[in-house]
Chain length 394, copies 2
């Protein structure tokens, strides 16, 4: 009874479900603390205390008809202004509330902007490894996702191949920095080169190519790493952001799009995106959480916690022989599989109660992803299991 | 730069915006309390006190990683169970948590189920007058909205015409009861006849026709009116619900779909709908509000307030000569325009600072919609203006 478009998504979902069920099964047999589940990107660090306080203050101070009511589909103006001001303070940008559109998380933001821009057959380019849902998002609007193969030496985007793959049908390029699943941050040098290629191709084809920067991990950067603000390098940039990780609110579905004035046809794109938010059924980002964001704009989760996890897991794994680019941001390690077929590696790891996601799920076989947004104790307890696993691999 | 599909939606949006701007302009000139804005279906009655208490209790009692975290895309199991139990208690149904899928409001629920079911070219039938966004929702999945003309004698659905308009391509029929914009409740007799037609046509064409019941106004029924539970009359029924009106939480975007076991291919439809929720970008309904719903399942806004408004406005309007079916539910009056062209009536009303929506926006010209989810004082103050307006009409 389900639509032709949903059928492959349902079929594909069984793999995710199988992994989830494997985790639940193992935990039931061996106990919660003897299973090392690195498969899910679900933050384990709680929301900062400012979030709870903001919610209580809002409920005590503001009119419930406003707090829980409809507003402009783009969001409360004062919330959008607070976000614009915060970006301007931190990144020396020049945004105003008219550039900020509140969304039901970053996933919804990406859908809104793709719905706004794509005609059937339009091409959207992204770089492997990539978050597999991009394919579904682009497919929702009958676009075609074009994948650039990975540069496994650095996991910076393969720009030579990008240039080859841009066609007159290229409507957008999606990047994700800090990057899931590798933890790489796209350098200023990378962004400058990327911008130059897009500028050149826009001129060559007389087309407009939008750069969509998916940035839910922006605030998770380690060792003082700088995450360059992409709008400063390329005018036709749209930023998708989420507070899922920076404030540990993934279930609340709260984020925004930045649609800068410099964008081609900016005003029209912004208006269409507001309408896309409405007609796609979201209508608006959740109202109470919007107000919370305005009050917590300078709050942050305990990034040090993730950093400690990152070092412990990276050091533990490399010490027993596994190979991995040290992540600069996000909360993932992307580890080279000791066998060409990483499914074999994942199966072997399961025997040691270690759960991880095969790189094939990110269009990058030969690798596995470990999400280290778990308790530090889980990492400590997992290291002997990794050492045993290494013995079977090397 | 925007997509071909979005262009007509942007063009159409200017009418809504114009009305909104007219209201803002008038309020600036004449003062907030001298403009009678009946154009928006935005609840003015605050959320019941139980909502605030539930939020505070949840923040004090539960783990923030759970409260604000990801859960199964279909929603927290205990929330879905609380909803199923409540429906079973009130409507003598037999639902379980596996029938309930939490959504980002009813608009998102409709989009999720249409995405789940529709192939391009599939027909979805609805009855004029109807909520104009249905057209956009069906169009999102390249379906074709087929509109049955209104029965202006009763505003019950025109079933004879429905029967004529069902084809082998009919995938779904959308009903809305209590009804926006007329306030009519579909009677048990109507639902039985409707079910018989759908059963007959399913047999005739060997097809499955889903009945989608959009019910955000279910709890707003007056004079003891019963709103029959649609799944009891037709097996292939899917219910879309929202807490926007029953708990005055429209900005929070919280609702659910009921996908009963009796539905054709129920398990597959449910799974696909969960995935549609995810890939459309919502991912899940907002987490804190889900938990609030479970604790407030028996709470309700002050329906008496709307009832008092309903009587005051209905009596005031009919006393000065306007004609209107007395609404049994929701918070709208659908008033016959004294002129064949209701745009002329709306223009005339504006001069008396009365703002209302033309029936053409609901595919039912010759009528206007007044949303009486406003303060009682607004209604009281508006009645002299309506009397002046009547003098110019009759």
């Amino acid at each position: 009874m389900i639509s032709e478009k949903m059928k492959p998504l349902v079929a594909n979902n069984s793999a995710i479900r199988a992994m989830f069920e494997e985790g639940a099964k193992q935990k039931a047999i061996y106990g919660e603390d003897q299973v090392f589940d690195f498969s899910l990107g679900n933050p384990n660090v709680p929301a900062p205390k400012e979030v709870k306080q903001a919610i209580i203050d809002i409920l005590n101070e503001e009119d419930p008809v406003v707090v829980h009511g409809y507003m402009n589909n783009a969001g409360f103006p004062e919330v959008r202004k607070a976000i614009a001001d915060s970006l301007n303070r931190r990144f020396d940008t020049h945004f105003h509330e008219g550039n900020i559109l509140m969304t039901v998380g970053a996933a919804s933001g990406l859908n809104v902007i793709l719905k706004t821009l794509l005609n059937p057959g339009d091409e959207v380019i992204t770089f492997a490894p990539y978050f597999v849902e991009y394919g579904a998002y682009v497919g929702n609007y009958d676009g075609k996702l074009v994948v650039v193969s990975p540069d496994t030496a650095t996991f910076q985007p393969n720009l030579a191949e990008l240039e080859e793959k841009i066609t007159p049908k290229t409507k957008a390029v999606i990047i994700n920095t800090p990057h899931n699943p590798t933890g790489v941050i796209y350098s200023e040098e990378t962004l400058k080169k990327l911008a130059a290629i897009l500028e050149k191709k826009q001129k060559e084809y007389g087309s407009v190519i939008f750069l969509i920067s998916d940035e839910p991990y922006r605030e998770l950067a380690y060792d003082g790493a700088v995450v360059p603000y992409v709008t400063k390098y390329y005018a036709n940039t749209i930023v998708g952001y989420s507070f899922s990780k920076s404030l540990s609110l993934p279930g609340e579905r709260i984020g925004y799009l930045v649609i800068p004035d410099e964008l081609d046809d900016a005003e029209n794109v912004f208006q269409a995106a507001s309408i896309a938010t409405r007609v796609s059924g979201s209508v608006n980002a959740p109202s109470l959480m919007q107000l919370v964001i305005a009050r917590c704009i300078d709050a942050s989760v305990d990034v040090e916690y993730y950093d400690r996890n990152r070092n412990a897991l990276y050091n533990g794994l490399t010490e027993c022989g596994f190979v991995c680019t040290k992540p600069q941001g996000a909360f993932y390690l992307f580890v080279k599989s000791p066998f060409p077929d990483e499914a074999k590696f994942c199966e072997l790891a399961k025997k040691h109660h270690i759960l991880m996601v095969p790189g094939s799920s990110f269009a990058c076989p030969g690798y596995v992803r470990l999400a280290y947004c778990v308790s530090y104790e889980t990492i400590e307890r997992s290291l002997p299991a990794f050492r045993e696993l290494a013995k079977e691999c090397f």
